[in-house]
Amino acid sequence: MLADHSADAIWAHDLTKVYGKLTAVDHVDMEVPSGGVFGLLGPNGAGKTTIIKLLTGLTDLSDGAAVVAGYDVRKHPMQVKQRIGWVAAEVILDDDFSAIENLWLQAKLQRLPEWRPRAEQLLQYFDLTSREKDKVSTFSTGMRKKLEIALALLHQPSVIFMDEPTIGLDPGTRRMLWELITGVNREFGVTVLLTSHYIEEADALCNQIAIIDHGKFVATGSPSELKSKVRGDFIELDTTDRVTEAILGSIPGVSEVRTQGKTWVLRTTSAEEVLPRLLSHIDPKDIRRINVERPSLETVFLDLTGRKIDEDNGEVHDYRKFYATVRRARQ
């Protein structure tokens, strides 16, 4: 029986993007029902941004089909673009213009004749009214991000795409943005598709998550569904050379022994039961570090791919460096 997808905000089948020899997105199927917050979670380079580019018509599909906000992305890209909003990872505004001028320009680009009341309402919602006439180059990163979300909401889109919405932000601003994203989804009734490589972000914001690796969805579901897929806890262990795989494997309750770099990763039925046994099987002097990973989206990713999300190359650890690079590019 066919499911009815007409209520979906996003529907895609066999979505594929090939760049030369690299398949960035590999035959992905997705359905995002209207109204929720859908997260694409995966390491850098997994294909998250490319999926956004495909669904927004910014790049052509190599294969497959996609319907966004009621229109076919290939056949009617202009109609799709009239109904979607977009928030860039790197905060893209016209720095030479004020907040209200940025909104005016966006209104022009979205063909909105009566934009002013809506713009004022958004500026108020995002607490930017007092700065509306200031050049956005004088804004803090948090304010710039808020203005960017206001631009995305100006034409009352049905779907809004947010690419790594909190990358490079300090923890306080990140919390604020999480509240804003949840608020925007609830109060403006807009479907949100966001990408993230922050586990806690996806967990905190999304009703539905697709875990993506090497251009493929490796799992999909609500955060709690995904977590329940992982049986037991993981124990990470750094030890001396005296500890071997055979010793670790022989401990009752350890169902699997893997290595990640120099770290042992043990899959266990329950960390509480296995930890005392572990300490009686190995000399505590041989243990340098122990870490227990409770079922989380991180362990889901670990379980499915054998890697941790944030251990991937290219992770931006140093935010100051990240913003210095962005600023340099702007000069």
């Binding site: 109609q79 673009k81 030479d96 979205q110 063909r111």
Partner: protein, 280 residues
Amino acid sequence: MSGETRYATITPPAEAAASPTVGQGSQFVGLYARELLRTFRNPWVLVITIVQPFMWLAFFGNSFAAVPLSELEELLHIQIQSYIQFLLPGVLATSMLTVGMFGSMSTIQDKRFGYMKRILLTPTRRATIYLAKALGSASRGLVQIPVMIAAALVFGVRFNGDPLLWAAWVLSLALLGFGFSCMFLAVTSSSTDWQTPGVISNFITMPLMFASGALFPSVNFPEWMRVISEWNPVGYTALFGRGIVVQGVAHWDYLGYVAIFAALMVIVGTLVASRYLKAE
């Protein structure tokens, strides 16, 4: 939702009712206004735009100050008040050569800062962006005209021609600037390198400036330079302007030639840009 769930038949959801073509007027106005505001809010841009051709008149225009007018007229094959009077239409035509570079640079800047993505994620066609940028940089070039004419008056030049002919002269310069802006933008539509517009500008400016009647009459040229000048829209714009400024006569066929050049550039350029204008 996932790759595990395969439906027996994959049918995409029905599309919403087909809506008419999305108009482009609003987007064009917004983008064109943005170009103008960005240009005219930066005082340095204005200063350079104005000072550069002014210096042409001041330095180059006075190079023959000590030469008796009769000798100069013999060399230039035209009756003039001063070399500056002869030069003014040529310098204005030559300066339209470089305005296209600014449109290209502003486009490349939009690509590098990601703003092009912001534009392309709205119902704006690439051709609309292209035309707004081309018209924006051509408009920037037109600022030079009143400034230069005022400067020439300061240097003591008196002009011929009635207002209608002068309007036609301004039109010819606008068409030339628009044509070159279109050409520049088309050539750099897939480029993201800051240096490209400058390189192209350097490459084309020299031959098109000298192999035209802009600075000296082409009757003194060797045969090969005369061939270039016969195809060179800069030369036709300069000659059209010179006819009006110096003699009070309009050679309408020259204006027609410049109009054809502009039309050709905008058609070819729009086709190229709608296909190759990159988002980033």
